[in-house]
């Protein structure tokens, strides 16, 4: 059973298109995240939701819109795709804890987005 699953694993699309990436976790966690990993492998947080409420929203173009229909799902919709959006997008989940050391994130396998 995959703990954090995201689909699709690969996404190749033309500039200007709109696309969505889906993420689901079966760990019972209350917090979910979207990260972007660029070609240099730098992993940067984009969004975080806790109990369906947006709690982290980094400086991300408003073409990116996350949606959390319930605690177990966090989807990412991207409008008007640009070449610079090409990257690997990771979904993650954790159980929010006031003790930092307990904040362990579980990652999906990633979605490799290529914008042509």
């Amino acid at each position: 059973d995959t703990a954090v699953s995201q689909t699709p694993k690969y996404l190749v699309t033309q500039m200007g298109n709109d696309k969505s990436i889906k993420c689901e976790q079966n760990l019972g966690h209350d917090t979910m995240y979207w990260y972007k990993q660029d070609s240099k492998k730098f992993l940067k947080i984009m969004f975080s939701y806790n109990n369906k409420e947006l709690i982290i929203n980094e400086t991300v173009p408003n073409r990116f819109s996350p949606k959390s229909p319930d605690k177990a799902h966090l989807n990412l919709h991207i409008n008007s795709l640009e070449l610079g959006d090409s990257a690997v997008y990771f979904c993650a989940s954790s159980q929010r804890n006031i003790r930092e050391a307990k904040n362990i994130q579980y990652f999906g396998a990633g979605t490799r987005l290529s914008v042509l």
């Binding site: 492998k41 709690i55 904040n103 999906g108």
Partner: protein
Amino acid sequence: TQLLEQSPQFLSIQEGENLTVYCNSSSVFSSLQWYRQEPGEGPVLLVTVVTGGEVKKLKRLTFQFGDARKDSSLHITAAQPGDTGLYLCASPGYSSASKIIFGSGTRLSIRP
């Protein structure tokens, strides 16, 4: 400016050799985590260090948290091809928003 700088950025060594990678910052952290990411997969947590000077061992991997809690190191003894991957240090976050900040990463390649 990276909050967490890792060095080296790339490392390619022969199987059986020892190696150390570093994670440095000018900031003090209450804890640091190390993740390993294999090709085509997401990062997986290896360890969390909490106390200044703490040393944790995970088989051939030894993790140390600096006394001043500004840096950490990962030492691998007798590296094996299965150790190949991207090693990321991370700060779990300062507030209850639980925002993890990742380091710049070390790409490790172990040659058979």
